[in-house]
């Protein structure tokens, strides 16, 4: 896309020197796949531009995950050292933090729909001759990208928690983060479409995000839990992002088999060990379902 052209570029075959008062007429073509892709791209780009303009957000959404990682991780180290078989608690929590850092940012991105509605900008997009699905998809991709950028920052911290910088590991973690970010943004958009005020959205998010975070196994191994917590843990979608993330990270650590058994037990369904790929599949499937619901809801609103 050229951004630095002037009037001379507009009429290749027309008069050599266009008069200053000449009227440049454009036209709006019929809806095609190309125009929908352009719409998706510009909605996506807008999310990035806004993210770049709002550097505070980059910092604020990272504060909480880093608190958990470093303060909780260091603070509880001594209490838990007996159970971690010599593995640092920070190392254990790290995969969970890789997930929630992305999750918090993705939620924030989805909130921009509520924001846009409050400030009227949503209307500008709603009246455009494009499919509503293009707007939703653009939003979700934008949210996923922004969250992915946040994720990279957390990936960079791996060395501080004794996790090696292995290219395969980094790529795998980043891929998982993108999947999760997309699913969470879709979930956020699905919720945001129905909500008209920022305060209510933030309230709903607090109500959803924190329980999801706490029951997901980001802070504890998901085996040998009390029955009620096991049920909640298996129902929590975030579990299926945290667990493959932990398996991935732990597969690149050199630790004792005992530690691996205790800290990376994996998720079971009625005794059956769920493969990591299926877990990632759960996230993808949930993301797509929520995206579909979000599109459906968004298309119905006027």
């Amino acid at each position: 896309m050229s951004t630095t052209t002037t009037a001379e570029h507009t009429a290749p075959g027309a008069a050599p020197a266009p008069a200053p008062r000449e009227i440049v007429r454009v036209s709006v073509p019929k809806r095609t796949l190309t125009s929908e892709l352009r719409a998706i791209r510009i909605v996506w780009r807008r999310e990035l531009i806004r993210f770049r303009a709002d550097r505070m957000r980059m910092v604020t959404t990272l504060v909480q995950p880093l608190l958990f990682l470093f303060v909780l991780g260091s603070g509880l180290q001594r209490l838990s050292s007996a159970g971690t078989h010599g593995v640092s608690l920070k190392t254990f929590i790290y995969p969970g933090i890789l997930c929630i850092a992305v999750m918090f940012t993705a939620m924030f991105s989805a909130a921009s729909i509520v924001w846009d509605r409050e400030f009227g900008f949503l209307r500008e997009m709603m009246v455009a001759p494009v499919r509503r699905s293009s707007i939703v998809i653009g939003k979700c991709l934008g949210g996923a990208t922004v969250a992915g950028i946040q994720g990279v920052i957390v990936i960079c911290l791996a060395g501080l928690v004794h996790v090696p910088y292995d290219p395969v590991l980094i790529l795998g973690v980043f891929g998982l983060q993108l999947l999760l970010a997309f699913a969470i943004t879709a979930f956020g958009v699905m919720v945001a479409v129905r909500i008209k005020q920022m305060q209510s959205f933030m309230g709903v998010m607090q109500m959803v995000v924190m329980p999801m975070f706490f029951t997901s196994g980001a802070l504890f191994p998901a085996s040998g839990l009390p029955g009620w917590l096991t049920v909640l843990n298996r129902l929590d979608p975030l579990t299926y992002a945290v667990d493959p993330m932990r398996r991935l990270v732990f597969s690149h650590l050199t630790i004792s088999p005992a530690a691996r058994r205790a800290l990376d037990p994996g998720i079971t369904w009625w005794g059956w060990h769920v493969p990591a790929l299926l877990e990632a599949g759960v996230i993808v499937a949930l993301g797509l379902v929520m995206l579909a619901v979000a599109i459906w809801e968004f298309s119905r609103t006027e």
Binding site: H9, R50, F119
Partner: protein, 352 residues
């Protein structure tokens, strides 16, 4: 891109990209028995009118009269409860997309992204509407220059004043060369100077682009800028014509004279001209068709000295008064206000 037209001459009235011809060849907007109910509230009760291509058409009425609901139906934002309408030759219900491709919208409430610069806002609009990328920079320069914001294109909108934002919204509404531009209260909440400049842009726009402008306002003085106006009250059109014609229908001009002996003057007026006069605000006042032409006769034939004379034309306020029996301000202050509030609740609750 086969159908891009870059021309300094006004373009002939052609249908762009081979779309179906409008109901009436010249009508940019044709409305038939259009009505909208929000539950029990009848916001619009069957309006009919046509707007010719190239016209500046104004919708005048107090808040809550149904202007915005009508404009929203024409913009495909609200589905009519009854009746039909075509805009730029396309049905607002069945060909929603075609209507949207051909109209520009400037809403009552701001719809800009304050985080983006003026240029980014316009570019986003152009991308959403699928405007040919090669033409975007030139078109952008044109519309921004027209509203006097070209030198501010790289500033974020958050730093703009209310008037600048409104101007930018108008520029954005024009970005995709719409055939019909809808302006819902484009000057509401702006200071008189800015209002005037916005009207200058609108008139200039009409001169330069082949465009039809449909707007609502509740400022009487602004309606004077329109080619034709429709006065709306309680969801119905009570009068529709050129401002001058409407004012002419109200009756004659108001003439006020100051004399040394008011009673003698009143008697003389009755006797020589058959005019019934009264004293209002300390002056002998009467109503007469074409008052300016009457003044020379008055001086010549009244037979007594006149110290001062003033002639005033009927205003649209008088027009509004004669059709609705109330002034627009009074109409806004009482029941309409209440109704508007109820309607807003229903609209925000039920629509989005």
């Amino acid at each position: 891109m086969p159908d891009l037209v870059t021309s300094s001459e006004p373009m002939a009235t052609t249908t762009r990209d081979g779309a179906a011809p409008p109901a009436t060849p010249t009508a940019a907007i044709a409305v038939n028995g259009l009505a909208k109910n929000f539950g029990e509230v009848k916001a619009v009760r069957g309006v009919e009118f046509e707007v010719a291509t190239g016209e500046v058409f104004g919708f005048l009425g107090p808040n809550g009269a149904g202007k915005t609901t009508t404009i929203n139906m024409l913009c495909t934002l609200v589905k009519p409860s009854a009746g039909s309408a075509t805009v730029a030759g396309h049905d607002v219900v069945r060909e929603r997309d075609d209507v949207r491709r051909n109209i520009g919208l400037v809403f009552q409430d701001p719809t800009l992204d304050g985080y983006l610069t003026a240029e980014q806002n316009l570019r986003l609009h152009a991308e959403l509407y699928g405007v040919q990328s090669s033409l975007v920079p030139a078109r952008m320069e044109q519309v921004l220059t027209m509203v006097g914001l070209w030198d501010r294109k790289d500033h974020t909108v958050a730093t703009f004043s209310g008037g600048m934002r409104r101007r930018l919204e108008i520029a954005r509404g024009l970005m995709h060369s719409p055939r019909v531009l809808f302006l819902d209260e484009p000057t509401i909440g702006l200071d008189p100077q800015t209002r005037r400049s916005i009207w200058t842009y609108i008139r200039e726009l009409k001169e330069r682009e082949e465009i039809t402008i449909f707007m609502t306002t509740h400022y009487m003085d602004e309606a004077e800028w329109c080619d034709r106006i429709a006065i709306m009250d309680h969801g119905q059109i009570v009068a529709l014509d050129a401002p001058a014609t409407l004012k002419a229908q109200v009756g004659g001009d108001r003439v006020a004279i100051h004399t040394d002996d008011d009673q003698a003057a009143i008697a003389a007026l009755d006797e020589r001209f058959g005019v019934e006069a009264g004293v209002a605000e300390g002056a002998v006042t009467f109503s007469i068709p074409s008052g300016e032409e009457f003044v020379p006769r008055l001086f010549a034939e009244l037979g007594m000295p006149i110290r001062a004379v003033s002639v005033s034309r009927p205003t649209l306020d008088d027009v509004f008064m004669s059709y609705t029996g109330t002034t627009i301000r009074d109409a806004e202050e009482d029941q309409a206000k209440h109704r508007n509030r109820v309607m807003m609740q229903m609209m925000t609750g039920g629509r989005r």
